[in-house]
Subunit: 139 residues, 2 copies
DNA sequence: CTAGGATCTAGAGTCGGCTCTAGGTCAACC
DNA sequence: GGTTGACCTAGAGCCGACTCTAGATCCTAG
């Protein structure tokens, strides 16, 4: 047993969450953090695993396009403790719909790309083969 | 045979592409349109099916997160005509990677949502059943 | 002939989400 | 005890992608 309950500086928290220290402070100001970040005697932030875990959730939600205000609302519900599961569920389900829609759009885009890329590949193949092609046609 | 080669006003083009007239003009200024939009004698834009089709491609690419400058570059290649298929392919493949990455992130987010939503549903089920639960435990 | 609505241009404004700056504190090492 | 580097706050700045405004023009219907 060694690194139980690690106390992380903001720089270390930034490393593990993939955010910049600027963004970590910004998210805190924006009220996205579930629990207030501890401070050391010098006034510096001290992050615990729980904080990192929650921030990671935020990062995933953001990456899926959830706007900061929505994440904030969700955070507030979590902060408020049990008893509001229905509202949390509503929020999550709403976002799930948006995520599903996005996947659909991405699939459409992928189809488009594959279609167009296929066309270009064909054109390039045509150009690559011909050293013999026209002669072959005569035989 | 009636509506062959329809000539659309910007308002009609907006309807069919789902963009606003403002955005249509903006995209044009930004150089996203493959061919210059025709004008009627009064100086108004006239859109043809080809234009709408190309704009639709742009919309799909945008919806998948391709930045305007990338769409512009692609448009320029298309505008330049054949002979640059390799470059187009490179652009499309780069974007395909980003799209695939995004789908991955969305999947991760969906997992998270399903996991959390599942927890909340369980909590709510617990609350919904119990009218008899504690008494049952005594038998 | 005029009133209304769609269109035009150039340019300003908005919004979300960071990102950075200035000016200061603090801890640690040489 | 001086220097370096991570950290602090408050607030300004930036970027992408629209979105809107003002003031003019043009077409159509009444």
């Amino acid at each position: 047993m060694s690194d139980v309950a690690p106390r992380l500086s903001i720089g270390e928290a930034a490393e593990r969450t993939g955010l910049s220290v600027h963004t970590l402070r910004f998210y805190e100001r924006e009220g996205l953090l579930a629990s207030p970040i501890q401070r050391d005697p010098g006034g510096r932030r001290v992050y615990h695993q729980d904080d990192v875990d929650w921030i990671t959730v935020c990062v995933i939600l953001r990456a899926s396009g959830m706007p900061l205000p929505a994440i904030r609302r969700y955070t507030e519900l979590v902060r408020a403790g049990g008893g509001n599961e229905t509202e949390r569920l509503v929020l999550l389900r709403e976002h799930r719909e948006r995520v599903v829609d996005q996947m659909d759009q991405l699939r459409k885009c992928l189809d488009l790309i594959n279609f167009k890329a296929g066309m270009y590949e064909d054109v390039l193949d045509q150009l690559a083969v011909p050293p013999a092609t026209s002669a072959d046609a005569d035989r």
